[in-house]
Symmetry: D2
Subunit: 351 residues, 4 copies
Amino acid sequence: MGRVGRAVIAHGQDFEIREYPVPEPEPNTILLRQELAGLCGTDVHNWHNGIEGEMLLGHENVGIIDAIGEGVTMDFVGNPICEGDRVIFAPGTTHGAYGFQSDPDQPPHFRGGFADYIYLCYPDTCFIKTDAPPKVAVLIEPFTIGVHALMRANVQIGDTIVVQGSGPIGLMTLICAKISGAAKLIMVGGPSRRLELARRIGADVTVDIEEVSSVEERTELVRSHTPRGAGADVVFECAGSLPAIPEGLGYIKYSGTFCEVGHFVDIGSFDLNPNRMLMRRNVRLEAIWGSRPEHFVRGLPILEKDEFPFAEMVSHVLPLSRVREGFDALSGEYELAGETVIKIAIGANEE
Amino acid sequence: MGRVGRAVIAHGQDFEIREYPVPEPEPNTILLRQELAGLCGTDVHNWHNGIEGEMLLGHENVGIIDAIGEGVTMDFVGNPICEGDRVIFAPGTTHGAYGFQSDPDQPPHFRGGFADYIYLCYPDTCFIKTDAPPKVAVLIEPFTIGVHALMRANVQIGDTIVVQGSGPIGLMTLICAKISGAAKLIMVGGPSRRLELARRIGADVTVDIEEVSSVEERTELVRSHTPRGAGADVVFECAGSLPAIPEGLGYIKYSGTFCEVGHFVDIGSFDLNPNRMLMRRNVRLEAIWGSRPEHFVRGLPILEKDEFPFAEMVSHVLPLSRVREGFDALSGEYELAGETVIKIAIGANEE
Amino acid sequence: MGRVGRAVIAHGQDFEIREYPVPEPEPNTILLRQELAGLCGTDVHNWHNGIEGEMLLGHENVGIIDAIGEGVTMDFVGNPICEGDRVIFAPGTTHGAYGFQSDPDQPPHFRGGFADYIYLCYPDTCFIKTDAPPKVAVLIEPFTIGVHALMRANVQIGDTIVVQGSGPIGLMTLICAKISGAAKLIMVGGPSRRLELARRIGADVTVDIEEVSSVEERTELVRSHTPRGAGADVVFECAGSLPAIPEGLGYIKYSGTFCEVGHFVDIGSFDLNPNRMLMRRNVRLEAIWGSRPEHFVRGLPILEKDEFPFAEMVSHVLPLSRVREGFDALSGEYELAGETVIKIAIGANEE
Amino acid sequence: MGRVGRAVIAHGQDFEIREYPVPEPEPNTILLRQELAGLCGTDVHNWHNGIEGEMLLGHENVGIIDAIGEGVTMDFVGNPICEGDRVIFAPGTTHGAYGFQSDPDQPPHFRGGFADYIYLCYPDTCFIKTDAPPKVAVLIEPFTIGVHALMRANVQIGDTIVVQGSGPIGLMTLICAKISGAAKLIMVGGPSRRLELARRIGADVTVDIEEVSSVEERTELVRSHTPRGAGADVVFECAGSLPAIPEGLGYIKYSGTFCEVGHFVDIGSFDLNPNRMLMRRNVRLEAIWGSRPEHFVRGLPILEKDEFPFAEMVSHVLPLSRVREGFDALSGEYELAGETVIKIAIGANEE
């Protein structure tokens, strides 16, 4: 097969498009034509610090099966597969993680989503067939973070929940909280377009951090929306800023739960007073790290039901040649083409 | 106060309206004007067997505060109350249960819902102020059964759930399952109007037991809608018939959970094979008995959000003088005035 | 290798010793020299009904590594292994179960414990190196049933626990309950030698079913030893008789837990009244089916600490030629050589 | 009643013995003759910072019922009581906490344990009759901290557990871990006499922080005792020093649990890196604040069984007149009368 495919190679803070021969799938592999690859805050953080060596980024992926290697007959949950099927997959495998592999010049080259093809090893990769549209399916990876968080948070019917941060992880967590029995959902974030989306998802109260700019005021406001001002049952910290943690701990009621879902990259430390911030509140804290195949299996049918405005979260689709614009927008003003960015996805096709 | 109120007294299978003087509330009591009182399957079962002695039935209640005894200033969750507030309350107290007290001729008489007034002791009674409309608020007691069941069932995001029985308890449990993360909801019941309501609530699949009349066919059909035919994660038995239990156990996957929510009255025994029905499935079984104040506190805000067609479940409102018609409908064809019965509520006002 | 080994072949109710060539281990297999193989109640039940075809029984095994096939370097938990190491293993694999395979004349023949050798496939088999003595190590399989039961029962510090049945499963469950925080342990069983062992393990109260022969009396006695007579927090049914289930349900307090750990074989049905036996007690029931590799990993270090009289539970060791005597004892009077039988193990060596 | 009793009044860092008239119990109260009152690290911390105003300290108490006010007939769990019974009680009530009340000159004066009498309100106080000897019973309050910690930690059979800190809270937590299914118990603390007691309780490994003085070495040593060096399942931080927290987090395996049981007083803050210390370990953290009546009810029967060297933990008993010596020892060298201090109890009787 003499086909050639493009891949966006990151090094330092530069991006470069290279062409590689498209591999014929070996036994126990499959080859996907990329449809969409989400751009994640972790990508932006790593790029901001400068990518060491060379890397083909893109770990939030959906694609179409182009060719199937010998011995592959079904997806992770046992559904039969054939060429032309759409699949999503978990980026982590026992031998590494798609979208985080170095040395893209090494065959089989296509091991990240910012490219025309993606080459999957089997059975190492949890990939699952789906009929969700690409703009919905591309969200599965961030959605699984919310699924993981909710499975750890042990939300009960009737709980009052706060989500800090209205980026993709915050909105995904909000959706999962909405379908997990919360009686009242409070979103603390911004800017306003994201909060508007949060309300459509089901946030009963939104607090705009630009409008209510002091921690004390926000804390008082959030607590005023909890039963008898006693605080929230569960707080999800999805903002990813250090001061959000002590602020969020201050929203919680005695014996409540704090889920840390915001620090997937190391941005430093803060002063934690274990007596005042943790002990006196008899609090449980769950630190949520990534997601596992189980969360993909559980989350996908929820995406497929499409009862929430998932597709609208993909605010922008950019071709491979404009990857940098996406990184710039997410490290700057969260604006692109005059519109608030929520999730940027990279598509293989040029417009 | 020389007021007089009516109460429907049941004895054997007869009903009779009596008039009693309306009590002035003693210290630590409150007096409600009844708005609506639900008619429950348990009432019908007990009446069918013949009420021993005399009893003022009605344990699913909503009313308006008519007068407040000295010392009562707030409801169970700490909200201040005043005359004119609407309240719901848990029928169980440390000293008995509203709607199940014998000797209605004994003052204070009004200790059940099929009457013009309801007299509440405090702080024994968990009563809570609400602004839900009466036709929604009257459903809180059956709704708490669903809340209790879901808190025991430990449903996880992405689960496949079956509810057996499409009466009020089944529909309430379906709503609670819908907001607890289920990816797929399967309702097995009938007749068709109830199943139509189930679909509007969120049932993805409905199985009409009149159309699919053999246990084997139903089991095969239900399992065909579960992932890889492996069975449901959780089954809620809300049908209340004995054969529904072994049938429902057959819907479950290995290591799944079976919630028994249907046998609030003793209708006899069935042959249970512990090896084949329980052990080989490594199953967990939760038997849900009634509900507690916590379930009222958790359930009420969900009712108040009114995101489900709660009010439509009250298919019929009958005045005190027509209580018997309600009992007849629920012990017969589930038809009244030419319409399928879901929940019948008794109102104080004559039309 | 021209070695020959013996195997006890069961067919119908007969046993016969055959000789088979000892296989050289293929790649990804290991060969054990059998040390001890426990005789289990399930074996006895199946034998009693007549073994269909031919079978090499014995699924509770400990052996010494005789030879290691190419590619096998470590046990299930990652410890390096070499010839001469003692190992235990879980009898269930993805392709079947040691001790339950038909057609023993088919190579590799040695797929059950009543034989001179045991041939293990890898990595299908969870086998773990141990330095426990053989009479302790041979108990790991029944011990994992207790581990599984306790992990499901959710015992809390200070609970009052009842174990019904003082056979090996009952005693193993008692040990697991003892180390899981129980404040009071009540054993209901017999005969007296087993109850004496139960007391040495830590039973605070023993009830001899021969001395206290009526269900009512036993129930009253058991409940009199629970806090305020309210019933036990958790009951483990390890007796394996049908009437033990309703009796044990009667020991439990409101909202308690009943663990069914006794019906690994189908001995029929009993009349279950779901209202009276389950609902009115708001009970949780866990049906424990076998055990999984996790339970071996967790249970083995407890056996190795040897803080309980494990070795004494192996009341009798019989050579291969006397297997039938073991079956006879366990299907009759639980006496062998004038002593009460607890666990019989089959050893490869003739005395 | 003209009796007079002594009380040790703390103000600033001074102690003074005052005499007060002994109150006749009002209805719904009971009067105890103090037997022993434990001296707690929290007392020492507060005293070290200087007691504001005046306070009668002593919240770990056991006493004999001297007189019973009208209306009191049973203890918290429903046992009948009479004069002469020994009782322990939870120091917290809905209206305050025994041993932390200001204004001891106000009647009824005796509201802390460093005195001849203790005056209990009813039913506000959870008091329970016991037949444990005073030196065992006086430990119930610190023991309940361990009970609370273990109920939150969700230890499973076969877990590897680390306890940091070998003071009374650490030793109590060690006992609770021992009876909760741990396969391996590792105690990190000192000095040697305490570690020797830890080994007798059941610690399989003890790490003396004086001998192994670097964090890196201790971490390596602790991890070398965990399965495959992967870290402990659960770590209990009972040392109460700030650096113990990041150190203890470093002992844990991926997805393990960290229980913070050491910071009952505010001693400041430390630098917490949420990405490296929490997220990357996918950790759960439980902050344990005090204990509740349930923990007394659950813990007392364990104390009463006396299967551990409880009484030996009371290393010193001092009369009221020597309270200061206890505070000095606990704020200094943990030595008194030439012996290592574990728990100091204050007795009413002068030697």
